[in-house]
C-alpha cells in the first residue's frame, strides 16, 4: 500500500499540525477558512486605518499618493477575496453538510485542496508587500493603466497571479458544493425542504463556477499584455481597454451577488429562531434568490455607465438594474413578515441580523440611485459609491457573517460567545460603521472623488472626513471586543446541543459534532426537520435530550486524512509563483501538481481499516 500511496504512509489521526494540514473533515476546513479570513480582516482593517488617517485632514502628508494607491488597492482586494469570500466558504463548509444530513461534502480531498490553494494564492498576493512592489491600480485594475509602461513594477503581476490562483480555489470549492447539495441530501429532503442557507449556497456556488472563468480570461489577457507582448488592451495597437472592463464586470457583478447571497441565507436561518415563528414565504425567498442569481448576469454594464457605451446600452442596463432590486425587496418583505408579531429575542445573532436588514436597505437605496444612469454620471467614482459599497458589503455581508458566527459558534465549539460582550460588539460595530460610512454619501454628492490621496481644505470636505476617520476608531474597538469575546470562551461553561431551540438538522447532533456528524442519517419529512422531530417528541411527552455519542465511532467509515491536497496545492502555487520569478519554477510546480493528482487518484477515499 505504501508504494501506491507514496513515500509517506497515509496519515490516520487528527492530532497536531500534521492533522490540520492533512484534514479532509469539512468542519476543520471551515475553521481553517474562518481563522484565515479573520486574520485577513485584521490586515485589511489596518490598511483601511492608514487610509482613514491620511484622509482625516486636508492636505495631509501622512503618506504619499503611491503608498495610498497601494493601500486602497490591497484593502479592497483583501476584504473582497480574502475576507468575505472565505468567511462565506467557511459557513458553507461547516453548515451545509450538517444542514442536509450528510456526513461530509461530496469530495473531501477536493475541499481541502480548495483551502490550501486559496491560502497560497492569498500569500502570493501579499508577497508583493515583501518585495516592495504592491498592486496599486485599484481593485478592478482598469486597463490600460495596468499596462506597462504605466505600471512598470511587478505589483500588478502579483495581483493578477494571486487572483488567478485564488480563483482556481474558488471554482474547485464551488464545484464541490454544487454536487454536495444536489446529490447528498438526506432521504426525504427534496429541494423545497432544504434550509434557505443551503439554497443560497447552491446559487452562490453556481455563480462562482460560471463567473470566475470570465475573469480568468481577463487576467490571462492582462498578464499576456504585460509579459508576453500582446496588445489586448492597448489602444495604440487597436486593442480596447473597454474589453477589460467588460470581462471584469461580467465576472464582477455576479461576484457581488456571490458576496451577499450567503449573508442573506444566514439571516434567513436566524430570523425564524429568534422570532419564534417559521420563516415567512419560504418559496418566495428561495425563488427570489434564484432570480437574483440569473438576473445578476444582465446588469454588469451599470459599472460602466460613464465609459461611453452610448444611450441605448445605458438605458438597457438601467432597466435591468432597476428590475433586480425587486427580488431583493421580496426577500426583505418576507423577512419582515417573519418578524411581524413574533416573540423577538434580542440575542447578539438576532441584532446583527436586524442590523443587516437596516444597513443593507440603506445600501440598496443608494444602489437604486446608481441604477439610473443619468444620476450615476454624478455619482460614479465619488465617495457616494464608496458609501454604497460599504453599506452593502460591511452592513450586509460582514454583519451577516457576524450574525452567523454568534449563532453557530455554540454548535462548532459547544460554548456560547458571551452575550454582553456580543451586544457591545454589535453596538460598537453598528455605530462605528454608520459614523464611518454615512458621511460618505454627502462627501460624494459634494464632489469628493474616489481614490484621491488628499484634498485641499477649501473643498469643505474635512469635517465629514474627520467624522469618518473617527468612526474607524470605533470600529477598531469593536474588532478588539470581538477578538476578546472569542478568547474568553476558553473558560466559558459548556452549553447544550441546542441552546437556541432552533429548527435545522445541525442542531440535532452534539456540540461540537462528532467526526461522523450523524449517528444515523435522518429521514426528512418536511422543512425544518429538527423542529418536526422536537414537536413530535414534546407532544408524546418525551422531549428530546442530548444526543448520545456512538458506542463505536469506527463503525462509520469516514474519508481518511490525506496529504495529497496540500501537496498538489503547493504545485499549483508554484506554477503561479514561477510566472512571477523564474519559469523553471512553474514547470517544477506543474510536475508537482501532476504527481499530486496521480497520487491522489491512486489513493482510495477511505483507507482500508484493519476491521476489514
Amino acid at each position: 500500500m505504501a508504494a501506491i500511496t507514496g513515500v509517506l504512509a497515509r496519515p490516520t489521526s487528527y492530532a497536531g499540525i500534521w492533522g490540520w494540514m492533512t484534514t479532509v473533515d469539512h468542519k476543520r476546513i471551515a475553521v481553517l477558512y474562518g481563522v484565515t479570513a479573520v486574520i485577513f480582516l485584521l490586515i485589511g482593517g489596518v490598511e483601511a486605518g492608514f487610509l482613514r488617517m491620511q484622509l482625516a485632514s486636508a492636505d495631509n502628508d501622512f503618506m504619499g499618493p503611491a503608498r495610498f494607491n497601494q493601500l486602497f488597492t490591497m484593502h479592497a482586494t483583501t476584504m473582497i477575496f480574502m475576507v468575505i469570500m472565505p468567511l462565506s466558504v467557511s459557513f458553507f463548509n461547516f453548515v451545509v453538510p450538517l444542514a442536509i444530513g450528510a456526513r461530509d461534502v461530496a469530495f473531501p480531498r477536493l475541499n481541502a485542496l480548495s483551502y490550501w490553494i486559496f491560502l497560497f494564492g492569498a500569500l502570493i498576493m501579499h508577497m508583493s508587500f515583501l518585495v516592495g512592489q504592491v498592486p496599486d491600480a485599484g481593485w478592478f485594475s482598469y486597463a490600460n493603466l495596468t499596462e506597462k509602461p504605466f505600471s512598470i513594477d511587478r505589483g500588478l503581476d502579483y495581483w493578477a497571479i494571486g487572483l488567478l490562483v485564488m480563483g482556481a480555489a474558488s471554482v474547485a470549492g464551488a464545484l464541490n458544493f454544487v454536487v454536495t447539495i444536489i446529490n447528498m441530501r438526506a432521504p426525504g429532503m427534496s429541494m423545497m425542504r432544504m434550509p434557505v442557507f443551503v439554497w443560497m449556497t447552491l446559487i452562490t456556488s453556481i455563480l462562482l463556477v460560471l463567473a470566475f472563468p470570465v475573469i480568468t480570461v481577463g487576467l490571462i489577457e492582462l498578464t499576456m499584455d504585460r509579459n508576453f507582448g500582446t496588445h489586448f488592451f492597448i489602444p495604440a495597437e487597436g486593442g480596447d481597454p473597454i474589453l477589460w472592463q467588460h470581462l471584469f464586470w461580467v465576472f464582477g457583478h455576479p461576484e457581488v451577488y456571490i458576496l451577499i447571497l450567503p449573508a442573506m441565507g444566514i439571516v434567513s436561518e436566524i430570523f425564524p429562531v429568534f422570532s419564534g415563528k417559521p420563516l415567512f414565504g419560504y418559496p418566495f425567498i428561495v425563488f427570489s434568490g434564484i432570480v437574483i442569481g440569473i438576473m445578476g448576469w444582465a446588469v454588469w454594464s451599470h459599472h460602466m455607465f460613464t465609459v461611453g457605451l452610448g444611450p441605448v446600452a445605458n438605458s438597457v442596463f438601467t432597466i435591468t438594474t432597476m428590475l433586480i432590486a425587486v427580488p431583493t425587496g421580496v426577500k426583505i418583505f418576507n423577512w419582515i413578515g417573519t418578524l411581524w408579531r413574533g416573540a423577538i429575542e434580542f440575542t447578539t445573532a438576532m441584532m446583527f441580523a436586524l442590523g443587516f436588514i437596516a444597513l443593507f436597505i440603506i445600501g440598496g437605496l443608494s444602489g437604486i440611485s446608481h441604477a439610473i444612469s443619468p444620476s450615476d454620471f454624478q455619482q460614479q467614482d465619488t465617495y457616494y459609491i464608496v458609501a454604497h459599497i460599504h453599506y452593502v458589503l460591511f452592513g450586509g455581508s460582514i454583519f451577516g457573517a457576524f450574525a452567523g458566527l454568534y449563532y453557530w459558534y455554540p454548535k462548532l465549539t459547544g460554548k456560547m460567545l458571551d452575550e454582553t460582550l456580543g451586544k457591545l460588539n454589535f453596538w460598537l460595530m453598528f455605530i462605528g460603521m454608520n459614523l464611518t460610512f454615512f458621511p460618505m454619501h454627502f462627501l460624494g454628492l459634494n464632489g469628493m472623488p474616489r481614490r484621491i490621496y488628499t484634498y485641499t481644505a477649501e473643498f469643505g470636505w474635512e469635517n465629514l472626513n474627520r467624522l469618518a476617520s473617527l468612526g474607524y476608531i470605533v470600529l477598531f474597538f469593536a474588532f478588539l471586543v470581538f477578538i476578546y469575546n472569542l478568547w474568553q470562551t476558553r473558560n466559558s461553561r459548556r452549553v447544550s446541543h441546542d441552546p437556541w431551540d432552533a429548527l435545522g438538522l445541525e442542531w440535532s447532533i452534539a456540540s461540537p459534532p462528532p467526526a461522523y456528524n450523524f449517528a444515523e442519517i435522518p429521514q426528512v419529512e418536511g422543512l425544518d426537520q429538527y423542529w418536526i422531530m422536537k414537536e413530535r417528541a414534546r407532544a408524546a411527552g418525551t422531549p428530546l435530550t442530548e444526543p448520545e455519542a456512538l458506542v463505536d465511532p469506527s463503525s462509520i467509515h469516514m474519508p481518511s486524512p490525506s496529504y495529497w491536497p496540500i501537496f498538489t496545492a503547493v504545485g499549483v502555487a508554484l506554477i503561479g509563483g514561477g510566472l512571477l520569478s523564474h519559469y523553471a519554477i512553474s514547470f517544477l510546480g506543474g510536475a508537482i501538481a501532476m504527481i499530486g493528482v496521480i497520487g491522489w487518484g491512486n489513493e482510495p477515499a477511505a483507507a482500508p481499516s484493519e476491521h476489514h
Binding site: 446529490n183 507582448g229 500582446t230 470581462l247 496521480i598
Partner: protein, 206 residues
C-alpha cells in the same frame, strides 16, 4: 486489483463524479466563451497584417479537424471496450485516442510555426494575440487530455480498468469530447468564417 467502487447512496441516483465533470464542463464553456468573445470583438481591428486570409489554411486545418473527430470515435470505442471488459481493446483504443490527439497537436505546432514564419506573432497584431491565445489554451486542454489518456492506458495495461471502473473512462471521454466540440466551434469561427478576413472590416452602417 481494481478497487471496486461500492454503490454509494446519492440523492439523484447519479454519480458524484459524473455530476462534477458536467458542472466543470459547463464552467469551461464560460472560459472558452470569453476567449472566443475576445477574438470576435477584435475581428477586423488589427492595425497591421498578417491578416487571416494571408495566413489561415483551411485545407490543412480541415485535416486536423478530421483527426480530432476520429479521436472522439476512438474514445467512444475505448469506453465500449471497457464495458465489454476487453483489456486489449481498452488499451488499444485509449492509445489510439492519445495518438490521434498527439497528431492534432502536431498539426497545431506545425501551424503555429508556419504562421510565425509568415510574420504572425503574439505581439504583432490583435489577430495574432487572440488567435494564439484561444487556440493555445485549446491545445493545452488537449495536451492535458493526452496525458490523462496515457495514464489511463497504463492503468488498463495493468488490468485495473474494467466494467466496475468504467466511470473513470467515461469521465475521461466526457472531457475529451468536450475538447472536441470546442474545436468544432473554433474551426467554424476562426477558420471557415474568420479565415477569410482581410484587413479592417467595415462596421455595420459604414
Amino acid at each position: 486489483m481494481a478497487h471496486a467502487v461500492e454503490p454509494e447512496y446519492t440523492t439523484t441516483g447519479l454519480s458524484h463524479r459524473k455530476m462534477l465533470m458536467w458542472v466543470f464542463l459547463g464552467s469551461d464553456c464560460l472560459f472558452f466563451g470569453a476567449l472566443i468573445a475576445t477574438y470576435m470583438v477584435y475581428r477586423g481591428q488589427s492595425l497591421v497584417g498578417p491578416y487571416p486570409i494571408d495566413i489561415i489554411s483551411v485545407p490543412v486545418t480541415t485535416i486536423s479537424t478530421f483527426v480530432l473527430l476520429m479521436s472522439s470515435f476512438a474514445m467512444v470505442q475505448a469506453l465500449a471496450a471497457t464495458n465489454a471488459d476487453n483489456k486489449r481493446g481498452i488499451v488499444g483504443w485509449l492509445l489510439a485516442t492519445a495518438f490521434l490527439g498527439a497528431i492534432f497537436i502536431g498539426f497545431q505546432v506545425f501551424e503555429f510555426n508556419s504562421f510565425k514564419n509568415e510574420g504572425l506573432t503574439l505581439g504583432g497584431n490583435l489577430f495574432g494575440a487572440s488567435f494564439f491565445t484561444l487556440t493555445g489554451f485549446h491545445g493545452a486542454h488537449v495536451t492535458l487530455g493526452i496525458i490523462w489518456l496515457l495514464a489511463m492506458a497504463i492503468m488498463a495495461a495493468k488490468g485495473r480498468v474494467g466494467p466496475k471502473t468504467a466511470l473513470d473512462v467515461e469521465l475521461l471521454g466526457l472531457y475529451w469530447h468536450f475538447v472536441d466540440i470546442v474545436w468544432i466551434v473554433i474551426f467554424t469561427l476562426l477558420y471557415l468564417i474568420g479565415g477569410f478576413d482581410a484587413g479592417p472590416l467595415v462596421p455595420p452602417g459604414g
